[in-house]
């Protein structure tokens, strides 16, 4: 049955990519849609309040500046809110909030949520007030997700436009993304979640007396408001510590399936929207095909790792798969699917504890993040990442046929190649030094509480890989609520988010200013399976070159341990 669930998931994602992709293209090209009647008045009001003229467009540097300021102000706002959260009205009662919100934790959380990483060095039910979760976290989930989508769309416009200085209007893209995409889907998704049992209340924690007479305090909250946009906007930080393993956040296999669709469908639809905006649909399908192949490969390996009882337990007379750290209602299938989807989707909403996965299973999750979150990827950032790496493939292909490298008619000259090279270097230049520092420093090694050896190395590598990729997943035995980790992971998150946005937007500006070269016999076609293989090869080659040594010290060493 697991394979049916996997196949159904992939089938639905690819099937929905087409209509959703067309819809996204219409929304961001500002064509008519069904929701216009309800949303246009709101849109006009917001433009008036923001003093934005929707017809005015921005050059790449201005667009980038808007994105940067928006992200930074969002982080500052959340930081200040968290510092004053004890004075906020409403629940839960402070006696339940046993983790103090130190300023390094507040900085970390603020940076984390404004960059869609949502790395959580805290446990929600023992740290945050309800209003913090709503006005702070839920709002940032929407805002950061929408701003990432805007940047992604602007990047796509770089290819779709010719001889233009502008890439669109950041505020228009932001508002449209919120009103036409994120808010309606979150409303529908939220209703489905409450129907299945996700709480939506502001009640005090329930003091129950169990059937056997012991006391059980049950944390409550406006969970359903956060949980859908958490996945839809590629954020991932859950209401509770156990994230999507918590029965309140993810009560049934159906909510699990919907959550995973929420993570994957929009990023899968973006390549189709791309093809639509370009007027070359096949180019989009080719990119989606690369994503699907890499996704399926990871799923197969992770499933193989988790479907049997772990070797150390094999002689204890137990039957089943590896259910340590997994929930009964999801089983191995629902948990592995979630692990692979979330590690690919730059969304950290795991529903099983990755620290209890076998070494090969962890290897898949880690590799998915280190490859740059290009397999579906984050909202807006996934496709731009994949295209940037595909440009490396186009570059190599162009050299092989002895022509100036180009992609979809846009020339990749020396200046463009510099941006692409910087992008390829960004992840290793951030992950590897930070991991090394954490391993050398006492404060870094102090985070390893339970697992040592290669698994400990993996936990630290996983943490920085997750932050740079703006994923936010963690291997939960790592105690990351220390000044050292809070600050170093913040650096990683900012570098990943702002660095890739800057490189992508500036490159897109250059592409938009170019004219489009006509396709000739000698030019490299970018909408054929051959190109898909080139792009796939580029993704794997770059990942292997940068990270195989680190992976060899971590999950691979652990796998070959006696």
């Amino acid at each position: 049955m697991r394979w049916f669930e996997y196949a159904a998931f992939l089938g639905i994602v690819v099937g929905l990519a087409w209509p959703v992709g067309l819809y996204l293209a219409r929304v961001f090209e500002r064509k008519k849609t069904l929701l216009d009647q309800a949303l246009r008045p709101v849109e006009t009001l917001l433009y008036r309040l923001l003093r934005v003229q929707p017809e005015q467009e921005m050059t790449a540097p201005v667009y980038l500046a808007c994105f940067l300021i928006f992200t930074v102000l969002g982080a500052v706002f959340l930081f200040l809110l968290l510092l004053v959260q004890h004075w906020l009205p409403g629940g839960p009662d402070p006696r339940y909030l046993t983790t103090p919100l130190t300023s390094d934790l507040a900085i970390n959380t603020a940076v984390s949520f404004s960059t869609t990483t949502t790395w959580q060095a805290y446990a929600g039910e023992s740290t945050l007030r309800y209003l913090s979760q709503l006005i702070g976290l839920t709002a940032q989930n929407f805002l950061a997700g929408a701003s990432g989508l805007a940047v992604g769309i602007a990047f796509l416009r770089g290819f779709a436009r010719e001889k233009t200085a502008t890439l669109g209007n950041f505020w228009v893209d932001l508002v449209r993304g919120l009103l036409w995409v994120l808010l309606p889907l979150s409303l529908a998704g939220g209703l489905a979640l409450v129907w299945q049992g996700v709480p939506l209340n502001l009640s005090p924690y329930v003091e129950a007396r169990t059937l056997e007479g012991t006391a059980q305090t049950i944390a409550q909250g406006p969970v359903a408001a956060l949980e859908f946009i958490k996945n839809l906007g590629s954020n991932g930080g859950g209401f509770f510590n156990a994230n999507a393993a918590h029965p309140y956040a993810n009560p049934t296999p159906l909510t699990n399936f919907l959550a995973l669709l929420a993570i994957a469908v929009l990023p899968a639809a973006l390549p189709i929207a791309f093809g639509q905006m370009l007027g070359r649909p096949r180019a989009g399908w080719i990119l989606l095909a690369v994503m699907v192949v890499l996704f399926a490969a990871g799923l197969v390996v992770c499933d193989a790792a988790e479907k049997s009882v772990p070797a150390p337990l094999a002689d204890l007379g137990v039957a089943g798969g590896n259910l340590e750290g997994k929930e009964t209602r999801f089983g191995v299938g629902g948990s592995v699917l979630a692990a692979v989807v979330t590690s690919n989707g730059a969304t950290g909403s795991y529903n099983s504890m990755h620290d209890s996965y076998q070494a090969l299973g962890v290897l898949v999750l880690l590799a998915n993040m280190l490859l740059g979150e290009v397999i579906f990827g984050g909202l807006g950032t996934g496709l731009s990442g994949l295209i940037l790496i595909a440009l490396v493939g186009a570059f190599m292909g162009g050299l092989m046929v002895g022509r100036t490298p180009e992609y979809l008619g846009k020339t990749i000259a020396a200046a463009e190649a510099k941006f692409i090279a910087l992008y390829a270097l960004l992840t290793p230049l951030v992950v590897l030094p930070l991991t090394s520092w954490a391993l050398i420093a006492d404060a870094g090694r102090a985070g390893l509480t339970v697992n040592g050896g290669p698994r400990g190395f993996t936990e630290i590598l996983f943490a920085y890989a997750s932050c740079v990729a703006n994923n936010g997943q963690t291997m939960a035995s790592l105690n990351a609520n220390s000044v050292f980790f809070n600050l170093t992971t913040s650096i990683a998150m900012l570098a990943g988010r702002l660095g890739t946005a800057a490189l992508a937007l500036l490159l897109a500006g250059r592409f938009a200013a170019q004219g489009r070269k006509p396709a000739t016999i000698g030019s490299l076609p970018c909408d054929t399976p051959t190109f898909a293989v080139l792009a796939l090869g580029a993704v794997l080659l770059l990942g292997a070159l940068c990270f195989l040594p680190a992976l060899a010290l971590g999950p691979i060493a652990e796998h070959f341990q006696p």
Binding site: A65, A139, L178, L211, P222, V318, T328, N351, M353
Partner: protein, 229 residues
């Protein structure tokens, strides 16, 4: 470029800004106002709209699917709770706080390569076999001896439930068939036929057992052990 010339035309006293800086200046107000404004819309407006629609439609789910007894809440249908008595079905092991602490969700996070995991599971297997009087050859279902991810898993696998039947039937004086029937009544299949796994809610089962025991003896004649098993 025409924007710059318009401004120069409007405002003859101002020093004309270079065209690129003009674009930046226009963004200051939206930049300042957008975060608070959109935070209000998404962090207050959206949850309010969602609550207005969802709470009347699904009141008990929105409130946390609480289960009430004579003296108030006895728990939530979705959140696991601990059971250790011989007459109750036992849930999965839990690493949430000291066990099923619903303010401290989480798992044990032990790597498979960690010797502590083997030690823990071995002890759990021994306890399970002893409590349920299993022979050493009977394989123990993995969910009975591993900690769940949340520590609050309300379900066990049907195989796990079936292995506990003998202990419960003996403790409560019920027939094993009756207990098995209860399990069958409370087993939830895979959703939509293919999502997730078959599962049984421990709290629901134990509530059903208690309800049966509180019925007058005359009504439950079929529960008395009838001859040999």
């Amino acid at each position: 470029m025409s924007q710059a010339s318009e401004t120069i035309a409007e405002n003859q006293e101002a020093v004309p800004l270079p065209p690129r800086l003009y674009g930046f200046r226009r963004q200051v107000w939206p930049a300042i106002i957008s975060v608070p404004l959109l935070t209000l819309v998404t962090g207050a407006g959206f949850p309010a709209v969602l609550a207005t629609l969802a709470r009347p439609l699904f009141p008990s789910q929105a409130a946390g699917s609480l289960v009430s007894g004579a003296d108030g809440a006895i728990g939530s249908a979705l959140i696991g709770q601990n059971f250790s008595g011989a007459g109750y079905f036992h849930p999965r092991p839990s690493a949430a706080g000291s066990g099923y602490d619903a303010t401290a969700s989480g798992g044990a996070n032990l790597a498979p390569s960690n010797p502590q995991l083997r030690a823990d599971v071995r002890k759990l297997v021994e306890d399970y076999r002893r409590r349920n009087e299993l022979t050493p050859e009977t394989p123990v279902p993995i969910d009975a001896v591993t900690r769940s991810g949340s520590g609050l898993d309300p379900h066990i696998s049907p195989a796990n439930a079936l292995l506990q039947v003998r202990r419960i039937a003996r403790a409560r004086g019920l027939s094993e068939d009756r207990v098995r029937q209860l399990i069958a009544e409370h087993t939830q299949d895979r959703q939509l036929g293919f999502l997730g796994e078959a599962r049984v809610s421990v709290l629901a089962l134990n509530l059903a057992l208690d309800r049966r025991d509180s019925e007058p003896p005359g009504l439950s004649r079929q529960d008395k052990p009838a001859g040999s098993q």
